[in-house]
Symmetry: C2
Subunit: 261 residues, 2 copies
DNA sequence: GAAATAGTGTCTCTAAGACAGTATGCT
DNA sequence: AGCATACTGTCTTAGAGACACTATTTC
């Protein structure tokens, strides 16, 4: 399992952390990308990331990079390890293993410029997957998308996308943006309100410009969703279906809280 | 995202692969452990593992180690990446990041001796977790156990534990050993037989010494189980099989939601 | 009033839990 | 025969999908 022989020199490996940072903006699931300022893949969009420092864990490195790229506080969002990628040819310059992390957060301010000259910006996931990404980042992004979609089924992380306080519609729009299809508002409400600890009513309400005012909620304590909220439906509504083409089907014009702060 | 500056020397990191190899023997979920022959943790049981070689992926390294430790062919069993562990203090000799893999296989012959002098042997998971393990391997084992339990809910990997051909009871015993409680034979049968592609009838049957003969099956093509077979029941039934003993051994450590490490 | 969205109620259907009852081998 | 296990059937209930209906706001 580890260093069994003092004479033996283990292969030299560089370890980095890459971040798949998702948010929902304008009804779209978006991912934070930087534009590479150097070779290889000069000019290509890439996932933000960086080296792991001596003395820090991978998660600490991920949090540090996250803060550097977005100026975001760790406590605001959800972070989880996604997968380690180790193809020896994934970086033409040498042996670089990367551990990808998935971060989910509410609609963030346009990100501050990253540590290096590269500019960071949000891009709809559908656009990002339609084009080319540096390294194996397209695969990492796909894995992150699938993980996020799956997490919404089994946990309450969807609330991590919402700015508090939020309405049930806001929460539903998160599911619709991530899964790529619409949900029945009535059944969705029944599910989330009857799941103990998912939502905590604030007693206040949000008065939109049109339509009936909605009650506002905060995140509850529950982390798990059991039974899960499975994505089996794909309600036939105009707009395509899920898959990787995602986004064209999001709620038209979100008048709710989602975009405010 | 990777090597941005040729002058800059990234921290030196060693990368290893550790294996959580599960099988079901004598109605118990068992894990393959080696006895450490050197310091640190001399004499402690540990998960098998080793360095990643130049030019191979982590998964290839895991398969190689698996073969070295058990003499097992890759095709016989299920292998999946579990998690990367990176606490800077997890190995007293230096900076060692390990990527753990989960391997599930049918009741294997007693493992061949490992590559080093250390002897490999099967131990019930409950015993392994009751005692001390080297490094952070107890935590890795716990994560592996939870992952295996969860996989049984959502996939057909339970069949990977079975030697073909197998009966539905054999399959149920796998679930019972991994989950640690008994299942209703009737309802279990209904679930697995009605899941398209889980089981493929061979037409043959197994004639036990006592009881009615049972039909024999092979693994089908289906990988996913939807709807899932959730472990919500915990049927109380006497009958001192492994099932009853396995249960209390897991501190509920959730590696799922908040990134771990 | 109309338009629009929030929220309630309810019918149906699937699938799981419980468990009775039948089948088929063995000694 | 008696036992043990395999297998079938059925009643009940939890929960999801579908969707009609009511409520509350702005214009």
């Amino acid at each position: 399992m580890t260093i069994e022989d003092a004479e033996w020199k283990p292969p030299i490996v560089t370890v980095t952390v890459d971040l798949v940072i998702f948010t929902v903006r304008d009804g779209d699931l978006q991912v934070l990308l930087i534009d590479r300022g150097i070779e290889p893949y000069l000019g290509y969009p890439a996932l933000p990331g960086g080296y792991i420092d001596k003395g820090e864990t991978l998660e600490e490195a991920a949090l540090r990079e996250l803060h550097e790229e977005t100026g975001l506080d760790a406590r605001t969002l959800h972070l989880e390890q996604l997968h380690a990628y180790s193809d020896p040819r994934r970086d033409p310059r040498g042996r670089v293993i990367t551990v990808a992390y998935l971060a989910l957060g509410p609609d963030l301010p346009v990100p501050v410029s990253g540590t290096d000259a590269a500019a960071a910006s949000w891009a709809p996931v559908s656009d990002a997957l339609a084009g080319r990404l540096a390294f194996d980042h397209a695969g990492i992004l796909r894995d992150g998308l699938e993980r996020a979609r799956s997490q919404l089924e089994h946990t309450t992380v969807a609330a991590a996308f919402c700015v508090e306080p939020f309405t049930i519609s806001d929460l539903r729009h998160i599911y619709e943006a991530v899964w790529g299809f619409k949900l029945d508002p009535s059944n969705f409400r029944r599910k989330v309100t009857r799941t103990e600890g998912f939502l905590e009513p604030t007693g206040e309400r949000y008065v939109p410009q049109i339509g009936r005012p909605a009650l506002l909620y905060r995140r509850g304590n529950a982390a798990a969703l059991s039974p899960p909220l499975l994505r089996t439906s794909q309600l036939s509504s105009a707009g395509g279906n899920a898959a990787d083409r995602t986004m064209p089907l999001v709620p038209q014009e979100n008048a709710g809280l989602a975009g405010s702060d």
